[in-house]
């Protein structure tokens, strides 16, 4: 399966859903700064990986998937939960790439400010895509083992 862009997915979202994510993202960033100022960067840094918008995102994924099924006259509740679970699994793999981002900043930031962020962002993208590829391959192997004809 090839990665593709589905522009029509944008039509499923309402303006207030984008506003909620903007607000949550902004609030988390502001709070992270406040925590770092009050308790130091070692504590504030933890919140750089806090799942602030994941709650809103997973709820939206569930809602959109449920709606899509219900429009076809099907029961969409279970399908919505499965879609949200898949989103969570993706975030789990993505968190390893997030760790790589943190390691790059940790090791490189004292030497080069801009360079560390660029390398960290590229490192995150490469690791995230590679892990996704590994995950797909693992699922395919386990699938063929279970369903050997």
């Amino acid at each position: 399966m090839i990665v593709r862009i589905k522009w029509s997915a944008l039509k499923q979202s309402k303006w207030y859903e984008h506003a909620v994510r903007f607000g949550l993202g902004g609030l988390t960033t502001a709070l992270t700064g406040a925590i770092a100022q009050r308790y130091g960067p070692a504590t504030g840094g933890l919140f750089l990986a806090f799942p602030a918008i994941f709650c809103a995102s997973a709820t939206l994924v569930e809602k959109h998937e449920r709606k899509r099924k219900e429009e076809k006259g099907l029961q969409g509740a279970r399908r919505g939960q499965q879609a949200a679970a898949l989103d969570a699994a993706g975030a789990g793999w993505g968190s390893m790439a997030l760790g790589v981002f943190g390691v790059c900043v940790w090791w490189l930031a004292p030497a080069s400010a801009v360079g560390s962020l660029c390398i960290a962002a590229i490192g995150w993208l490469v690791v995230a895509i590679s892990l996704w590829g590994v995950r797909r391959r693992l699922r395919r192997v386990s699938w063929s083992r279970h369903f050997r004809f």
């Binding site: 589905k6 993202g25 902004g26 070692a42 709650c55 569930e62 993706g90 789990g92 930031a109």
Partner: protein, 113 residues
Amino acid sequence: MEYVIRFLAGGIVVSAFALLGDILRPKSFAGLFGAAPSVGLATLTLALLKQGGQYAAIEGRSMVIGSAALAAYSLLVCQILTRFRTTALTATALTAVAWFVVAFGLKYALLDW
């Protein structure tokens, strides 16, 4: 004023990654953007500009611990949704406690011990 800039920067970066997550398919690939370094990018850019490299490095080190907590959180949310069939809101909100326990537990064990 600093917090307004933080709010706007964080909101823009988080929204951009969230939009990518919305339009990309398959869903398993889009899920990677649920753990994108959106808050990290905004916060670390401001930290590098204002406080310098050493400060950002300490935040980066803690971010590694936070991402381990995020991995545990995501795994737990996935299992709860699959096995107990709760709504996504219930699963993600309740499991936030697990993120705090793992993040601060690891910080205590690795950095404060």
